[in-house]
């Protein structure tokens, strides 16, 4: 269960963040592109949560899993809850997550758990497109004007501190790995940084060098932004319990 949260909550929270941009995107075209990505992620989240709900049994549904947990019970990484700030941050956050997400799903499709393997397999096409979209934009912004270059570099620098957490192994990771269900995230780390640096270099950007990284999301210790995000996301279910449409 914790293992499913660890994967699915990333998609939910990033999907929610991107959803905030609906109608507020930088242009009509990027607005719709980012909200398409949001819907892809929420679709994936539904598959994971429906599976989680059947494992939980009782009255659990995908909605209770999505909306009725407290902040500490969400196991998403800190990276995905970071605010949209501007187009540069939105793209940088997307890029840093997409490269990881794709490699995670590629490994997860070999899971011994048939449901997780199937969800991963189905999601790969979507996430491949996300990766292409965000990587292209990294290059366009980096290799664009002085202004776009500085802003995307700034966003990459700021968000860099959240990348290391992607590869932290949790207790749930260890347990699932021993049953050949989970993915060894530590193995994804070296290829990730290699791929990311290559694209940054192509975008004429500098790969940040950091000694100290942020962590905590995977244990439910979130940044100050998470409470606001959940308040907005959960508002309807909290105000009108069991409401439907």
């Amino acid at each position: 269960m914790q293992y499913i949260y660890g994967i699915a909550d990333n998609s939910l929270i990033l999907g929610q963040r991107l959803g905030e941009l609906c109608g507020h995107g930088a242009s009509l075209e990027t607005d719709i592109a980012l909200t398409n990505i949001s819907l892809d992620l929420l679709g994936q989240t539904r598959s994971y949560y429906q599976y989680a709900a059947t494992l939980l049994g009782g009255n659990a549904t995908e909605d209770t899993v999505a909306f009725l947990r407290s902040e500490r019970e969400y196991k998403n990484v800190l990276l995905v809850e970071q605010p949209n700030t501007d187009f540069g941050y939105t793209i940088a956050r997307q890029f840093l997550f997409d490269i990881f997400h794709l490699s995670l799903l590629e490994a997860l499709q070999n899971s011994q758990d048939e449901t997780l393997a199937a969800i991963a397999q189905k999601s790969i096409k979507e996430v491949s497109y996300h990766t292409r979209f965000s990587s292209d934009w990294i290059k366009r912004l980096g290799d664009g004007t002085t202004e776009s270059h500085d802003r995307i570099q700034n966003a990459i620098n700021d968000l860099w501190g959240f990348t290391d957490e992607l590869f932290h192994q949790t207790e749930a990771d260890k347990a699932m790995l021993s049953e050949n269900i989970g993915v060894d995230v530590m193995l994804l780390k070296a290829p990730y940084y290699k791929k990311v640096s290559a694209i940054l270099e192509e975008a004429t950007l500098i790969t940040p060098q950091l000694e100290y990284f942020q962590k905590g999301g995977k244990q439910g210790i979130h940044s100050e932004h998470m409470g606001f995000l959940l308040a907005e996301m959960q508002y309807m279910q909290r105000a009108y319990p069991n409401m439907n449409w």
Binding site: S27, E29, T30, I32, A33, D136, R140
Partner: protein
């Protein structure tokens, strides 16, 4: 982004059919125009293939000349192949 050139988008809905014009969008170059077209115009499974063409490359007929261009065809019904007796077995004409 307001300075980006305009592109016309053509979508082929099925293999075997022709590309049809479905709208326009802004993009800085052809690659981005294709990606934007994918996101803006094929979200509901509208297509299997996309063409994008810079709008500036399209030469359009002048609406002021539509009288001399199109009106003369109006009274020439004999140009429609509708005066033939078709055998009943012929279905799709």
């Amino acid at each position: 982004m307001k300075n980006w050139p305009l592109w016309e988008v053509f979508i082929r809905s099925k293999n075997g059919l022709e590309h049809r014009h479905c709208g326009s969008l802004h993009a800085s170059d052809a690659t981005m125009a294709l990606e934007n077209a994918r996101d803006v115009y094929t979200r509901r499974m509208e297509g299997v293939s996309i063409w994008v063409v810079p709008s500036s490359q399209i030469t359009a007929s002048n609406p002021e000349q539509s009288g001399e261009l199109f009106d003369p065809a109006k009274d020439k019904a004999y140009r429609h192949p509708t005066f033939y007796e078709l055998p009943d077995e012929l279905k799709h004409m």
